[in-house]
């Protein structure tokens, strides 16, 4: 048993060797963030949302919903995009990207739901929605069920690597076959709840700034989740190939760069579609006059800075085969999606109230979210170093 733990968990090192390996500034920083976030979690559980957060009757949803759920789920879309393309539509060239994509979706969803537990007032009742009381008219009901199903789907998609790690080959083969079906189901489920996250705000038309409110909100959320997913694949693969180069079997630099450009092309197309839809939307609602207000400037900052500029950059990058520029664009796109989700849920929501009454997070809210991000990164690293992912 102890040799199994040593082999599988500590990568063949003794515990003290393994620990010593982690004595560097990055891990110390991660450790500090985790300690702070555990403190915040405990504080929230013991004293409640009131003392721990800046949430109020005016702002019932804050950073945890905005960042951990809306941003987190959008950025966890790699499984929706790349894994589907590879497993379902046979784009074999991108096979190397599929497993890490599935893993990042799995970890992203699991930790998003974990973070949600701290935001729910009665977290211990969360399973009511699955089997006890159904609110069929609620968008949130659809989201809850789809989260539940999608996490199972991600587990199935990821499990071949897991069972291989455990050396259970028969289970691995079984789940490999199941994986394709899970992917097919996953497209429907992921598409459904990514758009539903935008549809959450459909019901609050009088509370949202007109520039961000639209009947197309579900489509905007779905579209931006797709380009967020592709961008995350570009960024993750870049980082993973830099840090875990030794883990990648027969790493081919030329091949990798070619695929990155390919992803850049896909990103370009979807960003253009999104931009055109945004233009149609603003024309349809005749919202042009809002653009010359402070909220309008902020809106243009989001659209021009993080959608339009990446489109231009990507056009150049693809034309000149510049992978570095693709990566820069992907980073911009990811930042843009973060900004968009925060804008919809916090800035555009209750936009008419005075600035002094606006919500801003407490340090505990920030530290809990930072802790979640740290846990995601550490879990990703933990699994990638042990299982055949890259």
């Amino acid at each position: 048993m102890s040799s199994w733990i040593r082999e599988k968990i500590f990568l063949g090192k003794t515990f003290s060797e393994y620990l010593a390996e982690h004595k560097n500034p990055m891990f110390i920083l991660a450790f500090i963030i985790l300690c702070l976030s555990f403190y915040s979690m405990a504080y929230r559980l013991i004293y409640g949302l009131g003392p721990a957060t800046n949430l109020s009757d005016t702002y019932p949803w804050g950073l945890w919903i905005s960042f951990d759920i809306l941003v987190g789920i959008a950025l966890a879309a790699p499984g929706l995009t790349v894994a589907t393309a590879v497993y379902l539509f046979g784009l074999k060239d991108y096979k190397k990207f599929a497993k890490p994509a599935v893993l990042s979706s799995l970890i992203g969803y699991v930790f998003a739901v974990f973070a949600l537990m701290f935001d729910l007032g009665r977290y211990y009742r969360v399973f009511y929605v699955i089997g006890w009381s159904w609110g069929l008219s609620s968008v949130l009901f659809l989201i809850a069920w789809h989260f539940f199903l999608y996490i199972i789907i991600c587990f199935v998609e990821w499990s071949p690597a897991f069972f291989k790690w455990l050396g259970l080959n028969r289970l691995r083969d079984y789940f490999s076959k199941l994986g394709v079906w899970a992917t097919a189901l996953g497209v429907i489920i992921a598409g459904g709840h990514q758009s539903a996250l935008g549809a959450l705000f459909l019901v609050a038309s009088n509370k949202m700034h007109p520039l961000w409110y639209s009947s197309l909100l579900p489509i905007f959320f779905l579209g931006s989740a797709i380009f967020a997913g592709i961008s995350m694949v570009i960024l993750e693969s870049t980082i993973a190939h830099k840090i875990f180069k030794n883990l990648v079997k027969d790493f081919d630099d030329v091949e990798f760069n070619k695929r990155t450009i390919g992803l850049g092309k896909a990103l370009f197309v979807i960003l253009c579609a999104y931009l055109i839809l945004k233009l149609l939307d603003i024309t349809h609602y005749n919202n042009w006059h809002y653009l010359i207000t402070p909220y309008g400037y902020w809106y243009m900052f989001e659209i021009l800075g993080f959608v339009f500029i990446p489109v231009i950059l990507l056009a150049f990058a693809v034309k000149e085969n510049n992978t570095k520029l693709v990566r820069v664009s992907a980073l911009l796109v990811v930042l843009g999606v973060i900004l968009n989700r925060v804008n919809v849920s916090l800035i555009a929501y209750n936009w008419y109230i005075p600035l002094s009454e606006k919500y801003y997070p407490t340090w505990m809210e920030v530290s809990l979210s930072a802790g979640i991000v740290t846990m995601i990164i550490l879990s990703y690293r933990f699994i990638v170093r042990r299982m055949e992912i890259l």
């Binding site: 409640g48 729910l120 977290y123 009381s133 609620s138 019901v203 609050a204 579900p218």
Partner: protein
């Protein structure tokens, strides 16, 4: 009480005791443990079993803003009836004349206040007092938003909240166009939403809501909704110079069980401008579309999955 229930309660009460200390220090310890919604829900459940259906149609209240004098007795009566934290009646009554006054600030409902009166001003600086409470929509956004179905629109007209199902997601607060549901932020273990019940527990006994009963300025009138709407229009016809020609709540967001008459445009009194179609229709059509798309998309996806598996099988045979 079975054993599991007993253990659960013991655990909860001991934890609550443990946590009580801290929240006392914040001074907001009263913003928790509200019972009014729970009591009304229990009455509703009992009512459902014993009586077939309410005779006739639902009730409504007409608020004539021109008549309100800002005595805040409705607030006092509401607190009294619902056992919310309260103060002597005289303290409420003097607010309109004293300086500084609670009226200096625009207030909203909170976890222990189901109704409030706000003060606005006409152009000639005469004050206008506006009572605010749950509008008891005919198509409640809170109800449609709740993912565990813990709201109910009763035949009497009340929109009731059931604390025994609530998960505490607070989506109802996002959804409500009138910013009514409030949340017990200072309750760590068993927080709930709190809101006006239209005094469901009084209505079923044949009594008007507590706020209506105490109003001596004739600003609140309780009755069947169709009668109330007729009355509102009669008032508009008889005194066109007194009101703007609009019965707020007749059609707003699909209609509400609280209706308002005002001397100035409603936007100036903090009422949201709402269309006749409730936003819940948008949600409903979204959910319908998603379901249709999911079913339609499943056909090509299953086909693709089938193809992928069979081609994979071939490849494995080749190897």
């Amino acid at each position: 009480m079975d054993r599991r229930e007993f253990l659960k309660r013991t655990l909860i009460s001991s934890l609550t005791l443990l946590m009580a200390e801290k929240s006392h220090a914040t001074g907001k310890e009263t913003q928790r443990g509200n019972r009014a919604n729970e009591i009304n829900w229990a009455k509703y459940e009992a009512e459902k079993k014993t009586r077939e259906a309410v005779q006739g149609e639902s009730y409504a209240v007409l608020v004539d803003i021109t008549k309100c004098i800002g005595c805040r007795r409705c607030e006092w009566a509401c607190n009294e009836w619902n056992k919310n934290p309260n103060k002597p009646l005289s303290e409420f009554e003097k607010s309109a004349s004293e300086k500084p006054s609670v009226f200096d600030r625009i207030r909203r409902t909170d976890a222990e206040t189901f109704t409030i009166v706000n003060r606005f001003y006409k152009e000639d600086v005469t004050p206008i007092y506006v009572k605010k409470q749950c509008m008891h929509c005919l198509e409640p956004a809170c109800l449609s938003a709740c993912f565990v179905s813990s709201f109910e629109k009763t035949k009497e007209g009340s929109v009731l909240y059931n604390p025994s199902l609530c998960v505490g997601c607070r989506y109802c607060m996002i959804a409500c166009p009138f910013d009514i549901p409030a949340y017990e932020y200072f309750e760590p273990l068993r927080p709930q939403i709190t809101k006006c019940t239209m005094c469901f527990d009084r209505i079923i006994e044949g009594k008007p809501p507590a706020c209506v009963e105490i109003c001596s300025a004739d600003a609140l009138i309780f009755g069947k909704r169709s009668d109330i709407i007729k009355l509102a229009h009669r008032k508009l016809d008889e005194n066109p110079e007194r009101y703007i020609p609009h019965v707020y709540g007749e059609y707003e967001t699909g209609g509400t069980s609280w209706l308002y008459l005002s001397p100035v445009p409603f936007e100036k009194l903090g009422f949201p401008k709402l269309s006749k179609k409730p936003d819940t229709e948008k949600t409903a059509s979204f959910l319908f579309t998603v379901k249709v798309l999911e079913v339609v998309a499943s056909v090509p996806l299953v086909y693709a999955a089938y193809k992928a598996i069979s081609s994979k099988g071939d490849k494995e045979k080749d190897e």
